[in-house]
Amino acid sequence: MTENTPNAETPKKGVPTWVQVVIWIVLLSLLGLVGLGLRRAQQPVVAIGSPLQDFTLTLFKGYEYQGADSVKLSDLRGKVVVINVWASWCKPCEAEAPFLQEAWEYYEPSGQVVFLGVDYVDTEPEARASLEKFNITYPNGPDLGTRISQLLNRNMGVPETYMVDADGVLRYIKIGPFASTGEILTAINPLLP
């Protein structure tokens, strides 16, 4: 019966243990990365009640903030900040543009509220034409590298509006256009210091 049993003394040939360990570590790391990506994809929007990560918005010429060609969110502490993400090719953005401008004109004299227009995936000539068409006067600038929109919502779809209170905490999110100036005022008033 010895013919039917393999030679037990034959040394095993195969992948060395350390190589197997390395392969498993690499595979598990890759799975971890995929898992993290999926988790982030399932939570695309910043959470209300949490401090909004700081960013700097470069501003179009003629749409500066207090003479500066860029504005940093953290420099606006003590004020309510209304961040409106828009684009010239976006029809719903055109629908809400007059309401935003009217609300800005309402709050501007108090100095308690700052509006920031973040121009998303747009070209400057069209963006400027759109700003002029709706007589927008509040600070506006391009979302360079789509960094700001990615910070707010990884699945950005314009228009979207985010409101940050005087402490830098995100308090309000509007996905889609405002239907009236009153809707904007109703959202901002509770946030005033």
Binding site: E3, V26, T123, L144, T146
Partner: protein, 163 residues
Amino acid sequence: MKRPLWIILLTLLFTALTGSVALAQEPQPTPSDDAVNAIAKELFCPVCENTPLDVCPTEACKQWRALIRQQLAEGKTKDEIQRYFVVQYGARVLSEPPREGLNWLIYVVPPVLFVIGAGILFSVFRSWKKPLPEIAQPEADTPQPGGDDNYIKSLEAELRKRD
């Protein structure tokens, strides 16, 4: 008769000259759609993901193609235009992610996994080709060293009986 001939010749000359000048001044359709699309096909607008810029029908993408045309007309190269788009809209507009940071995983992991897989397959196929120890180099007429002689003898006897 000489005067009308001169007039005709001068008129023809003038017409030929003005015609050629007009042709030379006619606006050329440069940069062409092909030149624009050659760059556009390697870009992706974040608004319409998975649709290359050269075939994307949205307004945003039309604006982008117009921007490429404008920059080509200004004499910018393909690399310069791509760099502009990356600065303006981020690296995710590129069809091929730049070779930096975690992006390297995209370029390194697949070939590494391929090589590992090929190695595993090679070792498996090689083990399949190995002859089994008990039937290795069988020689019917010579007794197997260290084998069970009685068993072989009885087997051969049985075979002879059957013949």
